[in-house]
């Protein structure tokens, strides 16, 4: 279980507990948090679940694979360091306190 803070582009914060094994995308979806669309449902096929991870968390997350890097490169206004696709981040206890910010829009 991890407590995750999702920050909408407007600055509105949502703090929710997400079960281990779910993805950060699914945590937003299941709690009805706007700003993460995930049209493909988590198949790393659409790049509409893009967030900016809080700088302090960048190195604590599992690394991006090549496919995620490529998809992110074409997301809306990506940041080379902080951008991630939330469907590719699995939740574990180690992610307790994670903070992510949604971009202005998804593609």
């Amino acid at each position: 279980m991890a407590k995750i803070t999702y920050v909408e582009h407007s600055g509105r914060e949502h703090v929710v507990e997400v079960r281990n094994g779910m993805t950060v995308m699914e945590g937003a979806r299941d709690n009805g948090i706007p700003g993460i669309e995930a049209d493909c449902g988590g198949a790393c096929a659409c790049s509409t679940c893009h967030v900016y991870v809080d700088a302090a968390w960048v190195d604590k997350l599992p690394k991006k694979d090549a496919m995620e890097e490529d998809m992110l490169d074409f997301a809306w206004s990506p940041d080379p360091v902080r951008s991630r696709l939330t469907c590719q981040i699995k939740v574990s206890d180690a992610l307790d306190g994670l903070r992510v910010q949604m971009p202005e829009k998804q593609i």
Partner: protein
Amino acid sequence: MTHIVAIGAGQAGAALVARLRSQGFDGQITLIGEEPVAPYQRPPLSKGYLLGEMGLDRLMLRSDEWYVENNITLRLGQPVESINTDSRTIWFSDNESLHYNELVLTTGSIPRRLPAAVGGDLAGVYTVRTLADVDAMRAEFQAGKRLLIVGGGYIGLEAAAVAAKLGVDVTLVEMSRRILSRVAAAETSDYFRNLHMSQGVMILEGVGLETLLGEGRVSGAKLSSGKEIPVDFVIAGVGILPTTRLAEVAGIEIDNGIKTDAQGRCSADHVWAAGDCASFPMGEGRMRLESVGNAIDQAELVADNLLGAGKDYVPAPWFWSDQYDTKLQIAGLSTGYDHIVTRGPAGDAVSFWYYQGDKLIAVDAMNDSRAYMVGKRLIESGKTADAAKVSDLSVELKSLLK
């Protein structure tokens, strides 16, 4: 208070009601579904869910609480019997009725079945469309069992990949000259044929099913080549049909799907349609798309138009398929291409670019998200790409966007 009712609780229905609320609609919303479950994702049914890697909880599009919080009434497991578009009434099969101000048909599609005349009604013969379909067939996926897949489209190939991974002995027959012939170029067919053959799947092209054999339960199949093979179970992946029965009975115009105008309106007043079931105007003719992307985009457009946006639908087709470790991503529509330009392979990545004259119309990208994303951007913005640059691996793909 305005009451918007959607019939069909799949991807399009779910996208519609979510959009209505996110755009500020505060009237009454009812989402009616024939299946007994809240809207879920269908794509994993033939992939991760069938394989057992993804559970039901991860399949749901929204949590139960979300519908409550957003004041959306779900009526699940309640098939609609008929619609009266004059009195704007829906009748359920138990004779209960419901009044609407605006009705959206998001009824989706149903798989074609193998006719009973060729054994399609035998036990052990399945289609892949609903959760119930997949739950019913799952126990059959045991190592050493013999599976016959009829139809070499994406559904059949994805099911073949799952089965092969689980040690099932798979034979796939495709009646036409090659697998994926309806939706892709020969290059893509070749790629997937090689992939499946390397995993031990037997692919027979130009071979149809003559008849299934067995009494009560399928035990074999006679193929059009004359060969008879023993079979433990069968999956038919022979296409889907738009679900139009309700609309038809209500006197709503049908034309390869429920006919809509560019904004999603049907021929009857206050009735709209979106998703797999809807055919919309495209150029001189009409088009109907069977994909998640289309279901979402069209449903969101209809939601906006219900609230007065007055927008026309501009499809931006995209699609994906996962088979073994290959991710296929498709941008655009390949119908009408006259030649293919190949990029790669580079490592496990290869992409096929479909051209009509000089115009880029679609890209099939295997393990190459860059090719997919660049192709998608180009096609959606009406641009093309120089074929010599596409095929030159030393040219960075992103430069094609300039």
